[in-house]
């Protein structure tokens, strides 16, 4: 039996009719057409379906859509809504951290959550933040370099603002 739920995704409000067992990943992809969220394993192991719920990364394949009412969900489509890439997205492109790109939305959202918490993460912290995201192309080094590069740019901007 379908139920009507209200979701807040990327700042927009949606009323969606879902089954009680519909996952957030399925709801985003099939009901809302936000296919930037990728689902690979469907069992919470690969992290490709990672989205932010109230700024915290969650694997949307293991969360029921109905349980996300009242949360602010951010998907990869909501990170740069006006088409202007964030520093993090730019660094991923610039540093070759993107190959097939299937893990990329999840990688970027996990990284975005980390950078919101701290703009000066250690490499250990970056690795820890990305431990739930698997990539089978890059070998991870370029991804970590991209996050580090974005962190340096963000902390630089903050220093610049502080000095003004």
């Amino acid at each position: 039996m379908k139920m009507l739920i209200e979701l807040c995704v990327n700042g927009d409000s949606y009323e969606v009719a879902v089954e009680p067992q519909t996952t957030l990943a399925e709801c985003l992809r099939e009901h809302l057409g936000l296919t930037g969220t990728k689902e690979a394993c469907g069992t919470g192991e690969c992290g490709s379906c990672t989205v932010l719920a109230d700024s915290r990364p969650i694997v949307s394949c293991l969360v029921l859509a109905a349980d996300c009412q009242g949360m602010e969900i951010t998907t990869i489509e909501g990170l740069a809504p006006k088409g202007v890439l964030t520093a993090l997205q730019e660094e991923f492109v610039k540093r070759g951290a993107v190959q097939c790109g299937f893990c990329t939305p999840g990688m970027i959202l996990s990284s975005a959550a980390l950078l919101k918490e701290t703009s000066t993460p250690t490499d250990a912290k970056i690795r820890k933040a990305l431990e739930g995201n698997l990539c089978r192309c890059t070998g991870y080094n370029k991804i970590i370099e991209a996050v580090r590069g974005a962190a340096e740019r963000l902390s630089g901007e903050r220093d610049g603002e502080a000095g003004q």
């Binding site: 296919t35 890439l85 997205q89 993107v98």
Partner: protein
């Protein structure tokens, strides 16, 4: 010798921006009119000899259009034989 346009230079990948914004379309993102979805049933045992597959319950599931078997042809939910594969 004229200067090379790309060799020795760092070139941004063309599909990069699409892939970091969720705009890139993969086959799994494509929906076509009348498109059917398939599911692969694999043997839970390595090196097992498949002696038979009972598809009768699968056939009865509502919405099931056809079943394909690699070795012994395939079934369709209307009971007609739908071809054979080696």
């Amino acid at each position: 010798m004229s200067e090379l346009e790309y060799v020795g230079k760092s070139v941004l990948r063309k599909d990069g921006p699409d892939k970091v914004t969720g705009g890139a379309i993969y086959t799994v993102d494509v929906h076509l009119p009348g498109m059917l979805a398939g599911r692969i049933l694999r043997s839970p045992h390595p090196h097992a000899r498949i002696l038979g597959i009972d598809t009768s319950r699968a056939e009865r599931v509502s919405g099931v259009k056809a079943g394909l078997r690699a070795a012994a042809g395939c079934f369709r939910s209307d009971g007609r034989h739908a071809g054979r594969r080696a």
